[in-house]
Structure formats: C-alpha cells, structure tokens
Amino acid sequence: MALFKTDCECELTDGVLVGKTRRGSLEAYDQLVTRHRRGICRLAFGMTQNHEAADDLAQEAFILAFKRIRQLKDADRFGPWLRKILTNLCIRYASNPKHASLSDDRWDVSGGSADAAEKSLVRQSVRSAIFELEPHERATILLYYMEGLTQAEIADVLECPIGTIWSRLNSARMRLRNRLADLIEVP
C-alpha cells in the first residue's frame, strides 16, 4: 500500500506539488525538495567548492523558495526558479572577499591507483580553474556546461541581457582554455 502511494506521489508534476504547497501542504514541498535537492546541492557545491557552505546555501534557497512560492508565476517552472534563487545566493556568497580563496583542505585527494590519482588531479585542476573565475562568470559556466541551460535560460536566471551572457561565456571559456590547456589540447 505504501509502495503504491509512493508511486502515485512520484507521478505528480512540479506544478501540482507547488499548488499543494501554496495551499499549506508541507508534505508536498517535501516531495519537491526530495526531487530537486541532489541537483541543487551539486550546483551549490560547484559554485562554492565548500561542502558546508554549499549545504547552507542550498537550504537557504529551499527556505526562500518556500516562503515566496506564491510569487512563482508558472508553477511548472519550479526547478529553474529554484536554480535562479540558488545562483543569486551563491553569487552573493562568492562576491564576499572572505570567500574568495580556495583552501587545500577542501579537496578530497584520494589515494589508491595511479588512474584514480590522475583523475583526482584532473578534478582539482578543473575546479581550481572554475573557482578562479568571477562569480558571475562561474555561475554562467556552471549553468551552461553542468546544468545544460541555454543562453536564453541563463539570461533569465541571472536577470541580464542575453548579450551579456554570451560575452561572459566567451571570456570565461577563453580563460578556462588557457588555464586547462594541458588537459584540453588535442595531441
């Protein structure tokens, strides 16, 4: 019976769950959280490269979204709207000079085989390169490459013209290519 109920609930769209949340159902919002938390935590970590900060920001984003869920015009676009909130929170966090440096203890350098060590080094290089970007550029790059949003969708999330996104994407890409030249260049 419980399994049946869970299956039914899983079929509910974001729009339906948003509607229920607006009517005061915390359970519906809980389902929305369960559905989006993985992606949100992943994006938050990509932006901050810090587990604790990512956790806090993701929670903050979910709470803000819950408080302001009545302001969401298109209930079916809860996911993008949530990413919008999170991205802006992350940009605000990253703009703080206190959070501008990336300390080594944040990295999980795993031992073991040579292959694993190499992968770990690649990961470190990529993350370090991304972290060196300006917060807006970092957000643009992550939304574009990691979240798979189009330039128009990124413009919507970051609330700026599409031309700005295009220029940010290009400049960030150039910097990443220079920084990761060893890993990217085709022999």
Binding site: R22, R23, G24, L26, Y29, D30, V33, T34, R37, R38, C41, R42, L43, F45, G46, D55, A58, Q59, E60, F62, I63, L64, F66, K67, R68, R70, K84, I85, T87, N88, L89, I91, R92, S95, V122, R123, V126, R127, I130, I141, L142, Y145, M146, G148, T150, Q151, L158, E159, C160, P161, G163, L169, R173, L176, R177, L180, L183, I184, E185, V186
Partner: protein, 442 residues
C-alpha cells in the same frame, strides 16, 4: 559558412536540437573542410566533458537524507502559525485588510468630523446607543461582507497600479539601458534604476499595509465603545457577546496587519539576498526600513490597542456586575430581607462608585428605610444620593447612561419633595438630549 560564424556556433551545436538539420549539415560540411574549426570543435568537446564531469561531485545519499531532515525542521519552524493552521484564511486576510481602506476610511473621517462638534457627536451617537437587534447585526454583517468582497478586487487593482506606477515611468530608461551596448557607468545606472523600482514598490506596499492598521487601531476603540453600549439591566447576552467578539476581531486584525508589515520588511530582506545586481543597495533599503522602526512602533500600537480593549471589557463587565447586584438587592428587599439588601447595596456603592446604578442604590436604601419607618434616615440617604449625583454629573457618560443619571436624580429630588429642582433637571435634560423623555407621567 565563414570560420568566424562557425566558431560562434560551435558551442551551441553541442546542444541537441539547438539548430535545424540544414544548419547542422552545413556545419558538418565546414568541419570536414576546415582543420582549424575541427580542432576548435574538439577542444570545445573536451572542455564540455571536463566541466560537466569534474566541476562538482555527486552528493551521497546519507548526506542528502541528513540535508532533507534538517531542512524539514527549519521549514516547520519558518512556516507561520496562522499559515499552517488555516492557509486559506491567511491567504484571504491580506485582501480583507486591504479592503478596510475604502470601507472604513470614510467612516473614520466621519467620526473625526463628529468629534469636532461634541453636541453633534452626541446627537449622532444616540441612535447607536440602543441595543442592535439580531436582524440588524445580520444585515450589518452581510453588508460588510458584500462590500469587502466587492472591494477586494478594487484594492488588489489599486495596489498593483500604485506599486507598478514608478516602474512604468522608469521602464523606457531601463529598456534603453538594457538594449544598448553598455559601459560600466551604464551598468551601474541600470542597477540603480532597477533597485529604485524595487524600493518604490516596497515602500508603497508598506504604506498600503500601514493605512488599514492605523484605521483599525483608531476605529476599533471607538467602534467597540460606541456601537454597542450596554443597557442598564446588563442581562442581555447578545450585545455583550457581539461587542467582545468585535473587539477581539479588531485586535486580531490589527495584530495581523502589523505582522504583515514585518513580513514586508522580511520579504525585502529576502529580496536583497537573492537580487543578482548590487545587493548592497537592497541591504541599504533594509537599513532605511529598519530606521523607521515600524516593527517597534506597531508593537507599541498593539499594546495600546490591547490596553484600550481591556479597559472597554473591564468597563462593560463593571456595568453588568453593578446592575446585577442592584437587581438582586431589589429582589431581597421585595422578599423582606432588608438587611441583606442594604448590605449588598452598600457593597455595590463601595465597589462601583462611578456607575449610574449607584444612584439607584441610594434610592433603594432610602425606600427600604422609609418602608421600615426610619423617615429621617431615608431623607439623609436621599441627600447623600443627591451629593453623589452632583459628583457624577461632572463625569461623561454614554447617552443612555446619562439618561439614567438624570432620571435617578429626578427620582431623588421628588422623594425629597424638591419638585422645582426635579423640573429644572428635566428642562435641562430636554434641552440637551433627545433620547428618552424622562418627564414623570401626569
């Protein structure tokens, strides 16, 4: 296809469905012919793969569970009590409160106008001093509900129009700045314009919330004390009940309105957190809002409001108890239990010295003394009653209670045999009041 255009399109081509088939075919043909673009494409492929695979890491399930449980407890704590209990009511309340503006503003102004002229005020309010009938209350309730419902959309429209007015005015500037290629100075100006719009919206909302709050506070006190003045018997339950219910409703309404003000401030703070542009401006807005000390000011208002309501309730209960004691003493006197009746009346005089019924207590004690043959004592009691009347006549009573004071004084003078003074009171009263003709029957 030239190489420049091809390079621009390479990144987007990695996304499925971005281009149509013809465009993709053209791109494929170009890539086959141009090694430079092919290398560019391969580099872009590798960059895409590197970032998508390494930029972040997957979160373990245990960590996600922990995240979920912590978030759940925080959400429960952040959800408002009212919103959790009755979400539909909470959603409706904002509309109801806003509806108070068009409904009660004219009435409030009318009261202000009446307060200027005391005589006119009394002439107006004497109609309200009668107990309203159940049908009257029903009609009043239905009318208020109809007006509120009708005004709901109007106030929504008002809020929307007023709050977006500034945005509309500045829209062309913003659009121009957004479309045009911008230098950093323009960027700053654009951010400033957008923030100004948000700021004006917030301020308008705060003002819209504050108006009904102020009206509720001012009107709630007047309304509850004037509309349902209790009668002298004090045994009628309906007006008292309605009065308490109305008072409580207005207190809750005012409290909720103040809560809404704090919500506006909180929302503005949240906005500052999630604004992508120049969050410092949002923070400055919060600081300026804090400067107003709206929250603390409204807390003070609520305290005053509660104190006033408490005073009203205390007064009305005093009226009820004193009247009830007098009636019971009258019953004791009728049953021949004179000592008990006199004891009760003396207690009544002691505990409720400022009620009109105290004069009736003097009349009753004097009557009991006269009935038992203590003529001198009874005349002394009547004289004491007249002294009390002189003291009470300096106080202000609602019209119905004022009538009682006059009629008790007339009774006292008549019992003392001073008919001239009784007639003087009647004449004076007839000049001032139109409530009840207290002339004795011929």
């Amino acid at each position: 296809m030239p190489c420049d255009q091809m390079k621009k399109l390479i990144t987007d081509s990695l996304r499925n469905g971005t281009f149509d088939k013809a465009m993709l075919k053209e791109m494929e043909e170009h890539l086959l012919q141009c090694p430079e673009c092919r290398s560019e494409r391969e580099q872009e492929d590798r960059l895409f793969k590197l970032i998508s695979e390494n930029a972040s890491e997957d979160v373990p399930d245990e960590r996600l569970e922990d995240f979920g449980s912590r978030l759940r407890s925080r959400l429960r704590a952040s959800a408002s009590i009212l919103g959790r209990l009755v979400p539909a009511f909470a959603a409706m309340m904002s509309r109801l409160i806003l509806a108070f503006v068009p409904i009660f503003l004219p009435i409030f102004l009318l009261f202000l106008w009446l307060l200027v002229d005391r005589k006119q005020f009394q002439a107006y309010t004497h109609w309200l001093s009668y107990r309203p009938s159940l049908v009257g209350i029903l009609i009043l309730g239905i009318s208020i509900w109809v007006v509120i419902t009708a005004c709901g959309k109007l106030t929504d429209w008002m809020q929307k129009k007023i709050s977006s007015a500034w945005t509309d005015v500045r829209k062309p500037v913003i659009t121009r700045l957004q479309v045009a290629p911008r230098c950093p100075r323009d960027e700053a100006r654009l951010a400033h314009e957008i923030e100004t719009c948000i700021r004006s919206k917030r301020l308008v909302r705060a003002v819209l919330w504050s108006i009904p709050t102020l009206i509720c506070i001012a009107f709630g006190v007047e309304f509850s004390s004037l509309l349902f003045v209790s009668d002298d018997s004090g045994f009628s339950l309906v007006p008292q009940f309605v009065r308490y219910a109305l008072g409580a409703f207005l207190v809750i309404l005012s409290a909720y309105s103040g809560y809404a003000i704090t919500q506006v401030i909180r929302e503005a703070r949240d906005d500052a957190k999630i604004r992508p542009r120049d969050p410092a401006r949002g923070i400055a807005l919060i600081r300026s809002l804090k400067k107003w000390r709206l929250k603390y000011l409204f807390n003070l208002f609520f305290a005053v409001m509660l104190a006033c309501s408490g005073w009203e309730v205390y007064n009305s209960s005093v009226e009820v108890h004193s009247s009830r004691d007098i009636c019971q003493a009258y019953q004791f006197a009728e049953q021949g239990k004179s000592d008990k009746a006199i004891q009760m009346l003396q207690q009544n005089m002691k505990y409720y010295p400022n009620q009109p019924s105290v004069l009736y207590a003097y009349i009753l004690i004097g009557d009991i003394d006269a009935k038992e043959g203590r003529r001198v004592d009874s005349l002394q009691v009547y004289r004491d009653g007249i002294r009390e009347y002189n003291r009470l006549s300096r106080r202000h009573f609602p019209p119905f209670d004022q009538n009682l004071v006059y009629s008790y004084a007339v009774d006292l003078y008549r019992r003392l045999g001073e008919k001239d003074k009784a007639c003087a009171i009647i004449n004076e009263h007839l000049k001032d009041s139109t409530v009840i003709d207290i002339r004795p029957p011929k």
